[in-house]
Symmetry: C2
Amino acid sequence: MIIDGKAISERIKFSLREEISPPEADQPLAGKKKIRLAVIKVGNNPVTGKYLEVKRKFAEQIGVDVRIYEVPKDISNNKLREKISDVVHIPENTGVIIQLPLPEGINMQYILDAITPEKDPDVLSSKGWGKFATGKSKILPPVVGAVKMIFDENKIEIKGKNIIVVGAGRLVGKPVAAWLINEGATLSVIDENTLNPSNYTLDADIIISGVGKPKIIKPDMVKDGIIAIDCGTSESSGQVTGDIDPAIAEKASLFAPVPGGVGPITIAILFKNLIELAK
Amino acid sequence: MIIDGKAISERIKFSLREEISPPEADQPLAGKKKIRLAVIKVGNNPVTGKYLEVKRKFAEQIGVDVRIYEVPKDISNNKLREKISDVVHIPENTGVIIQLPLPEGINMQYILDAITPEKDPDVLSSKGWGKFATGKSKILPPVVGAVKMIFDENKIEIKGKNIIVVGAGRLVGKPVAAWLINEGATLSVIDENTLNPSNYTLDADIIISGVGKPKIIKPDMVKDGIIAIDCGTSESSGQVTGDIDPAIAEKASLFAPVPGGVGPITIAILFKNLIELAK
């Protein structure tokens, strides 16, 4: 079974639009001030520009405003942090995100920490992370929310399963591992320092990958019936490519590919989080 | 090799005393206000009383004041949180800890979050956790600091090793796993839901256990040369007992037992953290 992330994203989009832009004027949130997502865009990276366009379109379709704050890429860390603080303090901005990746020379966590948890739909500030990791947050990091949705919809029980997380990066591996630990899963985290990764992957019931290197997980590294969730994105010969070789589909009982799997759901969850923060 | 946690703790104690109570008046911290640890003690649990006495004695020997705030065990969550906020805001209190475990009915994380990160030497507040997990904290949760010290002193390289964390509790498994992930380790987290735990433990180079059930890790579950770090504490027939059967010593290349291993080092690291916060 191949996960159709776009279809799931469309479904979430529909329910979010119902919630915030209801046809009847007497619906719960009607008459309230409009929800607005502020996006900090540093420099002019064409890749971030593309992702941003996808978010802008999603927002428009559900009736959320997007305000883009462009900042030159040679801005200093301190100036950028000040700028973000200013944006966070504008009452009309319901939530604030920083379009990643940031240019080199920028201290990412320092910059992200200018966002207060109440305005952090990406759950990337260290305070937001602390709330999430200690089970106090009402929202999940979008990639975690997307993986959870795939598990929930397909009734995948994680207790007692052997789960492998590939890569321990800030955006995928760490939050996914922290969530799985909170859920009482048995998991292994492996990365490029792991000797014989196949020792781990061959025993896995579920593999979640977020490395960002094209097709590093091959079909011969997993067993039949594997649940394979690809959260890794890289560009290979001008194509958006995942960590998991699509040929895995022949062995997998469930496969969320890149592109078209977790990615579109992640964007929908970002807006779900934003609307949750607005409440 | 059996880790002598008391000897390591004594060594840290000596260096902390040198640092904050130097014989010469012209030493860096001389003349500054005295460092004070505030301890919130809820109810009258004899086990917490015993741990508290160990901390009080350590503090006295290095020249740190301890102030104990006793609170009745039937206090409401809100009253307790208020009380802790008051204690945190007393300028003479350099750091504040809450003696655990708390009585039933108390919402532990809500209570811990009354401690600000600047006064949280146990790194248990969700903000402190966020700083730690995102690599922004100058101090480590004491149990993590203790494990790190054992690894550093014995030149144990964690990259490329197969590490198993047993139990994913708030005080041991979660912080140790978060730290290992940050360090780029390959690790597996297993707990009571894990089918065939021996499948994991038999392959492990390093096992760190923090469950709190007597002798659940037996020698036949690990391979020769294992590095075994016990962070689990329970009472068995009136004796403080660890998760790891002491008979493992025959197979282990390094073994930190309970009692006398990680425990005394953890207390020393708590005070090291307190002094770091005072700076």
